[in-house]
Each structure stands twice: as structure tokens, then as C-alpha cells.
């Protein structure tokens, strides 16, 4: 994340002090209240801003919200980022698991806010990136102290296409299931990777 996304006034305030930052994510749900989370401890009301004109409470994830570097759209380059979240609550599991279909394509905004020495919001949240929710995955891995649940939400920008290829197999069995009697894939078991098929036959 580049400093250019921050208001200059805030960048000036950060000089000479240890910056205190809050990373916010706002997900606009189609049929429900927006999901508001931030990467700190406890609930936080960052005040009014462009997305929350009346202000709103953001739920803390309890652990750092790992937001990868993302770029402004330059020269038409589209990108996809993944938010890695730990400290995942049951509420979050419900959202990202049960509501997965509603979540798809929901607008996601990533913002950054600053706190003063007394942990009070210093400036309105600066919403510096917007994308659309894509697939979300949840992993559960064994650690020394038990199982740790991590949630990964993929987000694409408006120019990111969902062009992930669907795998398919040209086997005779699948072809017969789709088109009984068709012989197009009859000889595919004879081929393997690296097989050079001369055509036309000499």
C-alpha cells in the first residue's frame, strides 16, 4: 500500500510519531446490512466517512487483517487480491460460509484510518480500493495449541474477469455419458502427454 493513498495531512502527522493505523473492510450485502470489519481489537467506530455517512460500528477481528499490497489500475492491469483473516468468529463463518452465494460479487471496499496518541480516530476512513467479492475459502490447520481457522476472501477489481478455466476430460466415458454412441473420444486412451500425432498420415 503506498503512502500516496493517504491524505497528505495524515502523512505529515505520522512524521516523528509511531503511526497507529486501522485497516477497514466494508462489504455491501445485497439483502442484508453491510459487513463491517477492521483489523484491530474490539469494536470501533471510526466516525462518519463517505461510505458510512451516519457512522457505524466495525467489528474487530482480534488479529491483524493481512491485506496484501494492491495497485491502482494502471495501463489496464486488472488484479485479484486475497484477504487473509484470522481471529475468525462464528459470525464471520456464518457470513462467509452460509452466505457465500450472496457474498459473490458484493462490493468490497478497503480503507485505512489513523488514530491519534489516545487511539481516537484522527481522520475519516480513507477508502482507497474497491473490488468485488469472489470465492472465499476457509482453512483449518493444526497448530501447536490446537486448530486455527483462517478465512481467505478473494476480491477482484472491476476489470478482473472470472476466467478461471473449468477443467474437463476428453475421455470416452464422459463423451458417452453426454452423447451416447459418439465416437469422437474413442481413441483418447491411446494418447498421452507428448504423443505426436502425424496429420495427415503419410
Amino acid at each position: 500500500m503506498s503512502e500516496r493513498f493517504l491524505p497528505l495531512a495524515y502523512a505529515d502527522k505520522c512524521r516523528g510519531i509511531r503511526p497507529k493505523l486501522g485497516i477497514y473492510a466494508h462489504i455491501t450485502m445485497p439483502d442484508d446490512d453491510p459487513v463491517r470489519i477492521w483489523g484491530g481489537v474490539g469494536d470501533c467506530d471510526p466516525g462518519t466517512n463517505g461510505v458510512d455517512p451516519a457512522g457505524a460500528i466495525y467489528t474487530g477481528l482480534g488479529e491483524l487483517l493481512n491485506v496484501p499490497a494492491f495497485q491502482a489500475l494502471i495501463n489496464g492491469k486488472a488484479e485479484r487480491i486475497a484477504l487473509n483473516m484470522s481471529g475468525v468468529t462464528e459470525e464471520m463463518v456464518w457470513l462467509f460460509d452460509e452466505q457465500a452465494m450472496n457474498l459473490r460479487d458484493a462490493p468490497v471496499r478497503i480503507g485505512i484510518g489513523s488514530f491519534d496518541e489516545d487511539w481516537q480516530p484522527m481522520d475519516p476512513v480513507n477508502w482507497c480500493w474497491m473490488g468485488f467479492a469472489d470465492v472465499s475459502t476457509m482453512s483449518r490447520k493444526r497448530t501447536e495449541t490446537g486448530f486455527q481457522r483462517t478465512l481467505i476472501q478473494n476480491i477482484g477489481s472491476i476489470f478482473t474477469g472470472r476466467s478461471r478455466g473449468q477443467h474437463s476430460y476428453f475421455t470416452d466415458a464422459s463423451q458417452q455419458a453426454l452423447h451416447p454412441g459418439d465416437k469422437f473420444c474413442e481413441r483418447t486412451p491411446l494418447y498421452n502427454r507428448g504423443y505426436l500425432k502425424r496429420w495427415p498420415r503419410t
Partner: protein, 241 residues
């Protein structure tokens, strides 16, 4: 459900309370600018109780039962902090008063085993409403000694239950004899907004926490010795909405 852990069960040889932050450091800068940033929002309480002495079979049974009640950390518990003489105890005749009188029933009788009722010695309450994440509170000390930086207190929030706070500095104080009014700078930021009438607990500050590792609660059976488990607990949070 939140469990209250019996005080008799947590008698450690050492305790270590602290706020766990999430500071990201960018390494040394040749421009002499600070490159680190704090993103935790004020930190999360963590405590390590070292060598808890389970000196009797009854205590060991109670320990195992209480470990089972927590269901591997699914059920939080209220963990007390042992402040010793660090609390603002009232001073009478030059000596701190650290325990309350024992009170009988209203008819003057005591419980069959001779015990009665006790109450917190230090009595104080908050004055004035404060919003979520405020870091300064005003309180009135109804009966207690002088509050200094580094002391700890608890507030029982309406939805989040017991939360622990540390006095960062005394901003303003009007101190009388075993009483006073204070404006305090505290950490972490208030977990929930306060209305201004809440009691403040100094005798035994406490916090809702959960176990971090269920295996720490396993007793190590050793011949002719009593187990001395060491446990680490972390503050349990959930949304106040």
C-alpha cells in the same frame, strides 16, 4: 455462559499480565523516521500464571473439573488479577486496609460454618458517560486510597462483561482522606461505551478470558509431588452489537 473461576484454584507462584499488541516494523530507517506502525487498536490482554500449586486431591479434582467445564476454550472464564498491595487500598492509622469486615445475616447470625459475607474494600464509581474506545474516564473514589499510574481496575460492561484496564497516567485528581475524584488516562481503549454509573472494581480486577492451549490444563502426575501447571489465557472478545 461465562464461568467464574474460584480464586482458590488460581494461586500461582508468578503471574504475568500484559497487553498483546500487533506492531509492524519496517526496519531501521536512515532518514531517522519511525517505520513501525501499530494496528491492533490498543491490544488484547494476556496472562500467564506460572506454577499454580494444586496441593490437595480436592484442588486437583476441582482443577480437572474446571478444565472440563471450559470445553477446550469454548466457554470463557472470568480471570482474576492478584494485585496485592498495588491497589489503592484505604489507609487507616497509617496502614492499608486490604480486607473487609465479615458481615452476618440481617438477624445477626452467621452461616453454620461460622463464615459470613464480605465485600470489596475499595468502592468507586464512574462519573459521566464515555463513548466506545475512549481512553480517559472520570471516576469518584468513595472509599479508597490514592490512585497512581500503573494500577489496574475492572468495569463490568453491559454486554461484554468484565474488562480490565490499566491506568496510564492520572490526568487530574482531587484527593481527600480515603476519597477523591480522578480523571484517568487508561489503556486499552474502552471496550464498550459507559453510561457513567458503573462501579469500578479495584480489589480484584478481572477480565473475561479463554484458554489458549487445553493441554496446559493437563495435570502432570508425579510421585510424591503435587502438580504445578502453568497456563496462558487470552482476552475473549465478541462484538457488542
Amino acid at each position: 455462559m461465562v464461568l467464574q473461576i474460584p480464586r482458590i484454584l488460581v494461586r500461582p507462584q508468578a503471574q504475568k499480565w500484559g497487553l498483546r499488541y500487533a506492531t509492524t516494523d519496517g526496519g531501521p530507517s536512515m532518514s531517522l523516521q519511525d517505520t513501525s506502525a501499530e494496528t491492533s487498536g490498543g491490544g488484547l490482554w494476556q496472562v500467564t500464571l506460572t506454577a499454580i500449586e494444586l496441593i490437595s486431591p480436592a484442588l486437583r479434582n476441582l482443577w480437572d473439573g474446571f478444565a472440563a467445564l471450559q470445553d477446550g476454550g469454548a466457554t470463557p472464564i472470568v480471570m482474576p488479577m492478584f494485585v496485592g498491595l498495588r491497589a489503592p487500598w484505604p489507609v487507616v492509622d497509617g496502614r492499608p486496609v486490604v480486607s473487609s469486615a465479615i458481615y452476618p445475616h440481617s438477624d445477626g447470625t452467621y452461616v453454620s460454618d461460622g463464615t459470613g459475607y464480605v465485600e470489596d474494600v475499595i468502592r468507586s464509581h464512574l462519573v459521566g458517560a464515555r463513548p466506545l474506545r475512549a481512553t480517559s474516564v472520570t471516576l469518584h473514589m468513595d472509599y479508597g486510597g490514592e490512585i497512581t499510574m500503573g494500577m489496574h481496575f475492572s468495569i463490568r460492561h453491559a454486554k461484554l462483561g468484565w474488562r480490565l484496564y490499566r491506568v496510564r497516567r492520572v490526568i487530574e485528581a482531587t484527593i481527600g482522606t480515603n476519597a477523591g475524584s480522578y480523571n484517568l488516562d487508561v489503556r486499552p481503549p474502552l471496550r464498550q461505551a459507559i453510561t457513567g454509573d458503573e462501579d469500578v472494581v479495584w480489589d480484584t480486577p478481572r477480565c473475561v478470558m479463554r484458554m489458549t492451549d487445553a493441554e496446559q490444563w493437563h495435570q502432570e502426575e508425579e510421585a510424591r509431588k503435587f502438580p504445578t501447571p502453568t497456563i496462558t489465557m487470552i482476552e475473549r472478545l465478541w462484538s457488542a452489537k
